[in-house]
Amino acid sequence: MLGRILRQSGGISACRLIERRSLHVSRQLLAATSPRIVPISPSFFTKDPVGYDFSSYVESVLAAHENAVKKDTGAAFEPVSFEEYKNISGASTLKSYRRLVAALEQLAQYKPEYLSADAQELLTKFAKVQEGRVSNRKIRQLDEFGRAYGAGFRKEASAQVYVVKGTGQVLVNGKHLDVYFPRASDRARVVYPLEVVSGELQYNAFLVAKGGGTTGQADACALAIARALVVQNPGFKDILEESKCLFRDPRTVERKKPGRLKARKRPTWVKR
């Protein structure tokens, strides 16, 4: 039997050795003649050994927190992206990423004082980096006199405004608000943004309105004032956004189409 074993190239074939009788082979002889090839990683026969080994490690860390106390409330854990995970860990499959995310979401529910050092390291390493969005938009500032500029548009009308801290006077094209907008509804529209921020008596507005018609100019003025108020105090943005003062109404006159008399009006239908 030993001769057959030794003639095998490389290592011992276990097929020949599956006999319940004991091996009477000297240990030194075996050591000298039968070195064997053994994989290092326990996940050698898988598609992603690094990923599987890492997942096993992460799940073992989680399993150690059986008796940890959970937080009362907590924000959901935001993990790094799959690409970033691959870079950090060296894994390649989505499966290992999903196992990591599931385990970290569990770990993030526990109170920090009950987390082991390994758990804390994993949570910081694979947490999404919160970056503020870098915007290239130019933000308007108050000028040297404390004036905030705003421009508004509605249909064919446009309005420009300078809003400055004052007592509540509103001038449109040099005229008083009541004079320029005789209709109460138009006046209400124009000062609505100031009402929303409770600043009717705190700001003065100087408006220049052009184009369009009465209502169009009124809406344009309202939008201009709203935009200027945001420049005056960026804290007003939320409330103005919520009350839709910063919404630029995109509705315009619909074009005339061929085969029709106006945008929608059709010529009289004739039977024949």
């Binding site: 276990a14 050795l17 599956i18 240990r27 050591a31 090839i37 290092i40 050994p49």
Partner: protein
Amino acid sequence: SSRDEPFTEYELNARTNRFLELFGGMGSSIPERFSYKSQNTDPISPGQITISHLLAAGAHLGNNTEIFKKSMQPFIRGERAGLYIIDLEKTLTHLRRAAGVVRDVAQAGGLIVFVNSDELTRPHVAKAASLSRSPVISDRWIPGTLTNPRVFEGMQNVVKLSMSDNVLSTLSSTEHPAKPDVVIFFNTINNKTALRECASMNVPTIGIVDTDCEPGLVSYPIPANDDSVRAIQLIAGALGKAAQEGVEQRLS
């Protein structure tokens, strides 16, 4: 304190002590209680497993009588509640035989591979395999693992070990693919490709066969319930322990 007021801390402590004095010695003490949790860290060896253990783990519950492989007939004890009941005496003998195979292979320095098919049994099988530092296939047997070993993303390293587990050299798996010497399956139905590959490459296999499985597909079948996590934990632990014993005998 008066009868209306709640107990002070001192009184509570005194009452607790008195209670323990009077009643502490009462009740039953259960020595050597079997715990499934400690099964992973210190499993029962195959020589110590009894039919009671297998019964408690639900290893005797076969599948529905309607999905039945006739070649499993020798292992069936009877029928109950629409299921075939597996004869646990046969389970035990076959388990001990398979454990002996695993022990001998480990003692001779062979490579034992555990193949797990279910997510629930993954930690148990992994722990059993780690006792002898054996590889585990956790999810899916990649077709061609034996017949067409490929280079996966990232080169893998293997080591050349002596019989006393001294590292002789570190090699690349592309030139020296590691070949298993016995493969252990815990579900034969989901691993048909793997079983076929092992058979074609002359690798002996051990597997848990349920009443709807073909026992002839594996070299050493163990008739048992493959749906019960407890049963698989028990059997994986026994085989892992056998491998550990084999390794210890080799190194001593």
